[in-house]
């Protein structure tokens, strides 16, 4: 099963070395971990399914299908399996799964992908079942040996016990016998009331390695003999190399090679500095192609033009709210292009040789990475081994494999392994982007309440490219998520989707995905309706949530914790306000209340964010809090600073000095309150992010009377005496 990781004929030592470079060093560094090697078909290994290995010495290994990019999934998945298997958490070693959709496809996507806040939702039952099946087989093996009924045995801390006779056997002693049994089809799962681990905060398994520099990310891969490269693609998307003068670059000490491809130029050197100096010395003439005139204005105008076209009907129930009809209120909301800017810049290390290719990187999509490398190298996928690593941030950027394509094509011209590292400027300017999105909303009001609602979502379909089987009937299920299932009772309900791909700009997912747009627009529009009817935004929402008790509960919790009814502390200029966001996407219920102060010059200070979360049953409570805290900051960066703009086809931002993200001195006080729940688990990676922009915009609306319909915040609209 795992021939890529454990090549026959090589010594264990070689395998260990190879794996150490392949991202599993984490396991080495875990306090209780020792490197495990899957597929070493040692006789006594009990491998009931693709995920669990129990060796004769008792060590248990989890073959981890999901990737760790900060969301804590290594810990959560291990908790799921250790719970049902009755193993101490620290006794489970982790091993990154090799590329295989068949064995390790995410049950929601059907491909081996980590994203969309799906991991716990997808694996909550399968992982527990895997653990329960393995436990049942170990119990059966012990019962057979002792000649007792399996039901009279119990398990604890990696041991099967028969209390009546006082006998016990560790799992390791049973591994060989259990391996000969047939896994049960439907093993019973524990009653949540008896959980030892689930729902109780556990220490992250990766925490120590991430505090002492030993955690290995893709950019840390160091295969023996590796050279270092950096690259420049055309500053205009889709452009090509016309000519290159590399004489000065080659003269830089430490530069080994200049690789000129159709669409990019790379400089290979003894270290990144040599490569970068070389790159700076290249004189490249680009053929900029058809996108050389793109600008933010032209792209925005095209989206507005698209919005005038009829869309695909997603939902059509009851009365309609046509813009311009009597009693109908309309508004539109827009989001800008954004870069992901994960702290670990794009990188990929490749060793390409005849008939084989090794790729060291951190990717959210193992099999896509393998397929892309194979395509770029002219190999079959099974000839490519992807050594996955910890991800220094994903946020959706590493759901794409464009960087793997580029690195493999560069490596095709390099003798031996080469690590291709993007400069931050390249990472931001030649990337794939969160697209602009727009929402056009209308509501017909009677007695202050909506009796008809119309929502047209305008944006690209990333799904159509990324997961084609999920794109059916012309509807992008991500783009309309949060529009077609918004939580309020609004009477007649019409939702349309207009697919609009921004010309020339490659677009992809970004933390919070489609609901960034839909939640921002729905929640802003609800505030607009509340203001039009002179209602309190909290009461207005409550009145529309009759049939949605979970939504109502998080809303009430947040309002109570934030002190909705209490006066706000004053600020210079006197403009302060609270704003609400309620959302029910990703299977989780979140309400956030933002407090802002707006100065006379339009500067906005976000003082406090209070979020109540009901994400169903929780695996690791502190992990949930951590994800929500982080998601809030990610959304706050977008609200306060985030935008990628284009001029003459070029991205105008380049690094963290002009593509700003929130720093610690801009941080509001953050409070996250978990609402206990026995419902099915929901996602928690994305929701924190989507909740911020509407909450902050609504708080500004309350403070100033100005409703911001576009992000990021335009201070000139908020300055006293400024334009309106």
């Amino acid at each position: 099963m795992d021939k890529h990781l454990s090549t026959p004929g090589t010594s264990r030592r070689d395998v260990l070395r190879g794996l150490a470079c392949g991202g599993l060093l984490l396991a080495v560094d875990l306090p209780l971990g020792r490197l495990a090697v899957a597929g070493e078909n040692a006789p006594a290994v009990f491998a009931p399914d693709a995920f669990i290995r129990i060796a004769g010495d008792g060590t248990a290994t989890l073959i981890m299908p999901q990737v760790e990019m900060g969301q804590g999934i290594y810990t959560a998945m291990t908790m799921l399996i250790a719970e049902e298997l009755d193993l101490p958490l620290g006794a489970v070693r982790l091993e990154a799964a090799p590329a295989s959709d068949a064995l390790y496809g995410n049950p929601i996507f059907k491909i081996q992908a980590t994203g969309g806040s799906t991991s716990v939702r997808a694996y909550w039952t399968p992982m527990r079942k895997a653990g329960a099946a393995a436990r049942a087989m170990l119990v059966e093996a012990a019962a057979k040996r002792w000649q007792v009924a399996p039901a009279s045995c119990e398990t604890r801390d990696g041991t099967v016990l028969h209390t009546a006779s006082g006998r016990s056997l560790p799992y390791g002693d049973l591994a060989a016998a259990a391996a000969r049994l047939t896994p049960p089809a439907d093993p019973p799962l524990k009653d949540p009331k008896t959980f030892r681990l689930l729902g109780k905060t556990q220490t992250r398994l990766d925490i120590e390695a991430k505090g002492n520099g030993s955690a290995k990310y893709g950019i840390d891969a160091m295969p023996p003999g590796v050279k270092f490269a950096t690259l420049a693609s055309c500053p205009v998307p889709g452009g090509k190399v016309k000519s290159v003068d590399d004489a000065q670059a080659r003269a830089v000490p430490g530069v080994r090679q200049v690789v000129v491809l159709d669409d990019l130029v790379a400089v290979v050197g003894d270290h990144m500095w040599a490569a970068k100096k070389g790159l700076d010395k290249l004189a490249i003439v680009w053929d900029e192609g058809p996108n050389a005139t793109l600008s933010t204005d032209s792209l925005r105008a095209a989206m507005h033009e698209a919005a005038k076209q009829p869309g695909v009907v997603v939902k059509s129930e009851g009365a309609d709210a046509q813009p311009g009809a009597p009693g109908v209120i309309s508004a539109s909301y827009e989001l800008p292009f954004l870069a992901h800017a994960p702290m670990e810049p794009m990188n990929c290390t490749v060793h390409l040789r005849p008939g084989a290719c090794d790729v060291w990187t951190g990717t959210q999509v193992m099999t896509k990475a393998q397929a892309m490398a194979a395509q770029a190298a002219g190999l079959k996928p099974e000839q490519v081994t992807v050594h996955n690593h910890l991800l220094g941030g994903g946020f959706g950027r590493r759901l794409e494999v464009d960087m793997i394509d580029k690195a493999v094509r560069v490596a095709a011209h390099v003798d031996g392994p080469v690590k291709v590292v993007w400069t931050r400027e390249e990472d931001i300017q030649k990337a794939m982007y969160r697209s602009t999105y727009g929402s056009w909303l209308s509501a017909k009001l009677e007695n202050g309440k909506p009796v008809a609602w119309r929502h047209t979502v305008v944006g690209p379909s990333v799904i159509a490219r990324w997961l084609p089987p999920a794109f059916t009937g012309g509807i992008d299920i991500d783009a309309i998520d949060g529009a077609s299932d918004q939580p309020y009772a609004v009477g007649g309900f019409h939702v349309e989707y207009v697919r609009h791909e921004p010309q020339g700009v490659p677009t992809c997912f970004w933390r919070g995905v489609g609901p960034n747009n839909t939640v921002f627009s729905v929640e802003s529009f609800i505030d607009r309706l509340a203001r039009e009817t002179k209602s309190d935004p909290l009461e207005y929402r409550r009145a529309l949530l009759g049939a949605n008790p979970r939504a109502l509960q998080v809303l009430n919790t947040a309002a109570e914790r934030a002190g909705w009814a209490t006066p706000l502390p004053p600020a210079a200029g006197g403009r302060v306000g609270r704003g609400i966001c309620l959302q029910t996407v990703f299977g989780s219920y979140l309400a956030t209340i933002a407090e802002v102060a707006v100065r006379d010059d339009g500067e906005v200070q976000v003082r406090r964010l209070v979020t109540a979360v009901d994400c169903g049953m929780v695996v690791n409570p502190d992990g949930v809090v951590s994800q929500i805290q982080g998601g809030l900051v990610f959304g706050l960066s977008a609200a306060l600073h985030g935008q990628i703009t284009f001029e003459k086809g070029r991205v105008q931002q380049s690094n963290f000095h002009d593509y700003r993200v929130v720093r610690i001195d801009e941080m509001p006080a953050v409070e996250v309150h978990l609402v206990p729940s026995t419902e099915a688990p929901g996602g928690i990676g994305e929701p924190g992010t989507t909740t911020v922009q509407p909450a902050v915009a609504n708080a500004i609306y309350a403070a100033t009377g100005v409703q911001l319909t576009r992000m990021p915040i335009d201070r000139t609209l908020l300055a006293k005496g400024g334009r309106t």
Binding site: D280, D601, N655, H657, Y659, R663, D665, E666, R715
Partner: protein, 443 residues
């Protein structure tokens, strides 16, 4: 009474006329570039000792093109005659003046759009007299009032070098001056009054090094064009030589030997390091146009020439201007003057302290020190704001890099952090406004 009143009025009018004429005369008749030095200005032929013109002795046996390349660097032709991202010497760089925008011309040897058809005489006339072929009078943004001191031989060496370059076809752009500034013939009078129009005349009583420095500083390097204040007629006010001027929004500081407002407190090593490398430790880092001058010109000059320029600069009359002496090290905490500037503090913490340190002492390189730096102690904060807006220019290996923040921060924020920096680390708090920053943004 009436008679005496009339007499008094006439007298007053007479005084005004005479005084006005004197003032006007003073403005029109300025001292020559070396007049401050006293002694006798003699012809080159009469000067005893090695000639102060040409190339330094290290290049004495160099071929014409090599000499031309050196002198072209010394005259820093490239800085002005290259557009951003354009081919060197192909022109097109805009100069935004109060009267309109001027674009530098193409001086590659392209016959149609460059100077390929110019004769030696054409070239000499342009460089010495500011008159292009066809009698077109050049604006003194082209520093012919300095270049006029250069010998024919040196000017023609520059021409030879320029003619050795690949011709670039790039059409010159018309300037956007409005009436009356578009009347180029007016420059005839300007030239008559303010162009010395003679070749370099060494001072007999001074040594070869001083005279070599004078030749470079006053002629090729045309330091006074930025560092000497201008009269209302836009001539260099040679009575206040090197007391400080302006260049593209940047303050070109006082480089006279005055100890507080000038460079009188700099050691010879500091002055030479500044010229050759753009950094005098604890004093100043060359930025903006001066950074270009260092990159393209001074860094390419021989150590003997750098020493000669320094030796000359140290002898010009000290002029005391309003620039305060630099403050000492900054306190660990900011004081009351900046306590209410929270935007400036927030920006400084996030975007500046990484390199400049919370104390302003600089962490990553000596260049990053803010305290004691000339620009930080300039209460106008113009250069601080420009540095924040534009950064240190392209990343060049071997010297620290500062990105420009114009795209990320508003005029209000940049004004706030500039005022924070001067208040916290400088001699006097600046009060630069968002409006000032908006103007600097356009430079």
């Amino acid at each position: 009474m009436r008679g005496s009143t009339k007499r008094a009025a006439l007298l007053a009018a007479g005084i005004i006329v005479v005084a006005g004429a004197a003032v006007l005369g003073r403005m029109m008749f300025l001292p020559g570039p070396l007049d401050f030095a006293g002694g006798h200005q003699v012809s080159l032929a009469d000067f005893k000792g090695p000639s102060p013109t040409g190339v330094p002795k290290e290049l004495a046996n160099a071929a014409l093109l090599e000499r031309g390349a050196y002198l072209t660097a010394a005259a820093d032709c490239q800085a002005c005659h290259t557009a951003e991202g354009g081919t060197p010497y192909a022109g097109g760089r805009p100069f935004k003046l109060p009267f309109g925008t001027l674009y530098t011309p193409n001086i590659t040897p392209d016959a149609e759009t460059g100077i390929g058809r110019w004769s030696d005489a054409d070239f000499l006339k342009a460089v010495h007299k500011g008159v292009a072929p066809g009698g077109r009078h050049l604006y003194p943004a082209f520093p012919y009032a300095s270049y006029t001191l250069m010998t024919d031989e040196d000017v023609l060496a520059i021409k030879a070098y320029l003619f050795s370059l690949a011709p670039v076809r790039r059409q010159n752009l018309p300037d956007t001056f409005a009436f009356p500034y578009n009347q180029r013939w007016l420059m005839i009078f300007w030239g008559m009054l303010f162009n010395p129009d003679h070749r370099f005349q060494p001072v007999a009583e001074r040594g070869p090094e001083w005279n070599r420095g004078a030749y470079l500083v006053e002629g090729a390097a045309h330091c006074g064009e930025c560092h000497t204040p201008r009269t209302p007629f836009q001539a260099m006010d040679t009575r206040r030589k090197f007391a400080g001027g302006q260049a593209e929004g940047w303050n070109a500081y006082n480089i006279t030997p005055d100890t507080t407002s000038g460079i009188g407190g700099w050691s010879p090593e500091q002055i030479e390091a500044y010229l050759a490398h753009g950094h005098a430790k604890g004093k100043s880092v060359a930025s903006g146009p001066m950074r270009e001058a260092v990159e393209l010109s001074f860094s390419k000059l021989s150590p003997s020439d750098i020493a000669a320029m320094r030796s000359y600069l140290q002898t010009v009359p000290a002029v005391h201007t309003s620039l305060p002496a630099a403050a000492g090290p900054a306190p660990r905490e900011h004081g009351a003057t900046v306590a209410d500037n929270l935007d400036g503090k927030r920006m400084f913490e996030g975007a500046c302290a990484s390199c400049h340190a919370w104390s302003g002492a600089g962490v990553n390189s000596a260049e990053a020190q803010l305290t004691a730096k000339r620009a930080v102690n300039d209460p106008s904060a113009a250069n601080v704001a420009l540095m924040i807006l534009k950064g240190s220019g392209p990343q060049v290996a071997g010297r620290p890099y500062m990105p420009g923040f114009s795209g990320a921060y508003s005029d209000e924020e940049i004004a706030a952090v500039a005022n924070y920096v001067t208040a916290r680390f400088g001699a006097a708090a600046s009060k630069i406004t968002p409006g000032d920053v908006a103007k600097l943004r356009l430079e």
